[in-house]
């Protein structure tokens, strides 16, 4: 069985107006299926760039990325979109729910782009909401939900296409400690159900909960701690 994600000598440059930013400087990384990995680092360390590459949101400047059995070199934007739609679920710090859609419609959004028929979209959205104990609020709009509920809805959206990989970017960044722990508990459940989970955070407390903790600094991996559970 191949790894969930394998990165080999990945570099990423950004051309900004004034300077050439070297965000990733040779990352080698293998994440096995079913792992729970946290990526930690100060801001500007390159952790968001790494998450973009893991999430197929952008291509590395050089180096190789494999997602399961698929090598991503040279994949065009449609192919990447298809992979994101099928294999990856995103959880964002700012939730990124659409305010004018109900929670259920928000959760069903990824299925829309998979050409899933309407009735099935609804059914699967409700099922995903049930997994985060939010099915009773399906018809509410994000503004009517609390911060914790919004992030749970966003997690339901990440689960709805039954992805093999879940990527979370500071999922508790906008929440208080209690709600944050609730969300982490939920993520642990999802992880135990078999998904590979990658969380980017700058909060050492959250990073420490993961069995494997990567530390990134100035575009390089500086630590890879595993602790037995």
């Amino acid at each position: 069985m191949s790894a969930a994600i394998a990165l080999e000598a990945v570099h990423k440059h950004y051309e900004t107006g004034h300077a050439d930013v070297h965000a990733l400087r040779g990352i080698d990384l293998v994440i096995e299926r079913g792992e729970w990995v946290s990526i930690m680092g100060p801001s500007g360390s390159g952790k968001t760039t790494l998450l973009e590459i893991l999430g197929c949101l952008s291509q590395p400047s050089s180096g190789r990325v494999r997602l399961g059995d698929v090598a991503l070199e040279g994949a065009n934007s449609d192919a990447l979109a298809a992979i994101r739609g099928r294999e990856i679920g995103f959880v964002f710090q700012a939730f990124n729910l659409l305010p004018r859609l109900t929670l259920e419609e928000n959760v069903a959004l990824p299925l829309l782009y998979q050409r899933v028929p309407r009735a099935e979209r609804r059914e699967r959205a409700i099922e995903a909401l049930r997994r985060v104990q939010l099915d009773h609020r399906a018809e509410h709009r994000p503004a009517e939900a609390s911060g914790g509920e919004r992030q749970r809805a966003a997690i339901a959206r990440a689960l709805v296409n039954r992805p093999s990989l879940i990527l979370a970017d500071e999922p508790t960044g906008n929440l208080d400690t209690v709600r944050g722990q609730e969300i982490l508990g939920l993520m642990e459940e999802i992880h135990q159900a078999g998904a590979t989970l990658v969380i980017v955070t700058h909060d050492p407390g959250i990073g420490a909960q993961a069995p494997r903790c990567l530390k990134i600094q100035d575009g390089e991996l500086v630590a890879d701690d595993r602790r037995p559970r």
Binding site: T48, L51, E52, G55, L57, S58, S77, D78, A81, A82, R84, G85, R86, F90, F92, Q93, A94, N96, L98, R100, L109, P110, L112, Y113, Q114, R157, N161, D169
Partner: protein
């Protein structure tokens, strides 16, 4: 993203910023309504003008007496020319373009009924001339061939002349005096309405007597034969007026011994040609062009609103891309949104424009306007053409206004959503 969902999204976008939406849609709505209204007004104007010109006589050429032009004869020897019944007979026998021809005699004279005396335009007519004028009898009977043959002293009264001369008392059977001679009223004409082309008074103000009676009582003293004041010709084909003129002039020129190309010797006048010389289409084209410009400016409003929307929704677009939307899904969404908004504005514009046209064309509104003014007030003609034109321009506006925002939206980096906080 289905079209239906895109239209729902467009509606949400409009509802979210009602003030901005109203201001933005205003140009589009106004432009569409203006295109429909002006196009319909132009069509109505065309019909109104044609009707007003046709009131003197449909597909008619009037031929007046002239003089040999200086091109053919020196000024001191200028020869004045008159038409006779022979010309009428020649043209009737030989001209292929001509459906009917008739002579007409005309003279202004005193007419009197009871205490009322007026200076009136009295015409000597024959049945063919009445047919060319196309005027019907409202009551009584028209002037017939027998009236002409027997030089009867009978008169048919125009719609307004009846009111002005006969007043409330007089009617069919009344006796009036024309230049001192007693005539019996045998008929009253239907109302013709305001004429844009006329010679002397309008038909509604004229008195008609048999041509032969007119010629006998009021001859032209300059010549010793019976001469006609004018010839009236109706052509078969409205589009062949020019050909008919050449043909008729050549026939008449033969008897008068003048050049068949001498337009001063045999002057001809046709309301149809006058109508053609009015640049209605050009005028209307300019007006519609201005309306189309307003519509295009409305499109620029939509363009700027959609560009705003793309800017505001970068995080949303990034999120959609992150959850699996392809670039073309995003393009499609914004394109359909723009189209939905343009379509909505267009529908409102079509409704307002058509509503305005139907309102102005409504009989109930028009009946409040005096008859004389109504004759020259166009009835706007709501045509499919106008709506198709507005819809066509709108589709172009929608395409142009939708293209740039959709393209911009699809260029957004999906990683944006992770960075925008």
């Amino acid at each position: 993203m289905t079209s239906l969902e895109a239209i729902r999204q467009a509606a949400r976008l409009l509802i979210a910023h009602p003030m901005r939406s109203m201001l933005t849609l205003f140009g589009l709505v106004w432009g569409t309504a203006a295109v429909i209204f002006l196009q319909s007004w132009g069509a109505g104007l065309q019909i109104m003008l044609q009707d007003a010109f046709d009131r003197a006589g449909k597909n008619m050429i009037q031929i007046f007496p002239g003089g040999v032009s200086e091109e053919f004869s020196p000024a001191f020897d200028r020869r004045f020319l008159f038409y006779t019944q022979e010309d009428v007979d020649n043209v009737r026998a030989r001209a292929k373009e001509v459906e009917r021809i008739a002579g007409e005699a005309r003279r202004f004279m005193a007419s009197a009924y009871g205490q009322t005396a007026l200076n009136t335009d009295v015409r000597g007519v024959e049945p063919d001339g009445i047919a060319i004028r196309g005027v019907h009898i409202a009551s009584g009977r028209p002037i017939r061939r027998t009236d002409v043959d027997h030089r009867r002293r009978v008169v048919v009264v125009g719609h307004d002349a009846r009111r002005n001369l006969l007043g409330l008392q007089g009617g069919i059977g009344s006796w009036v005096r024309l230049d001192g001679n007693p005539f019996q009223v045998i008929g009253i004409l239907e109302r013709v309405g305001t004429q844009l082309s006329r010679d002397g008074e309008e038909i509604d103000d004229q008195l008609w007597v048999p041509l032969s009676t007119h010629l006998a009582l009021w001859p032209n003293e300059l010549v010793d034969e019976e001469v006609l004041s004018a010839l009236l010709v109706r052509v078969h084909d409205r589009k062949r007026i020019a050909e008919a003129k050449l043909e008729v002039r050549a026939i008449i020129a033969e008897r008068l011994r003048v050049s068949p190309t001498d337009e001063e010797a045999i002057p001809m006048f046709s309301p149809v040609e006058m109508l053609e010389n009015i640049p209605i289409d050009e005028q209307n084209g300019v007006a519609v062009l201005i309306a189309v410009t307003i519509l295009a400016i409305g499109g620029i409003g939509i363009l700027s609103m959609m560009l705003d929307s793309v800017r505001e929704r970068r995080a949303e677009i990034g999120m959609r891309l992150a959850v699996g939307a392809r670039r073309r899904d995003i393009t499609r969404q914004f394109f359909l949104e723009t189209f939905g908004i343009v379509g909505l504005g267009g529908l409102i514009g079509v409704a307002i424009g058509s509503g305005g046209v139907l309102l102005l064309a409504a009989e109930s509104l028009r009946s409040g306007i005096p008859e004389d003014q109504r004759d020259l007030l166009p009835v706007p003609q709501l045509s499919l053409e106008a709506i198709v034109l507005a819809a066509g321009v709108m589709i172009v506006v929608g395409l142009l206004a939708g293209l740039i925002p959709a393209w911009r939206a699809a260029r957004i980096d999906p990683a944006e959503t992770l960075r925008a906080d």
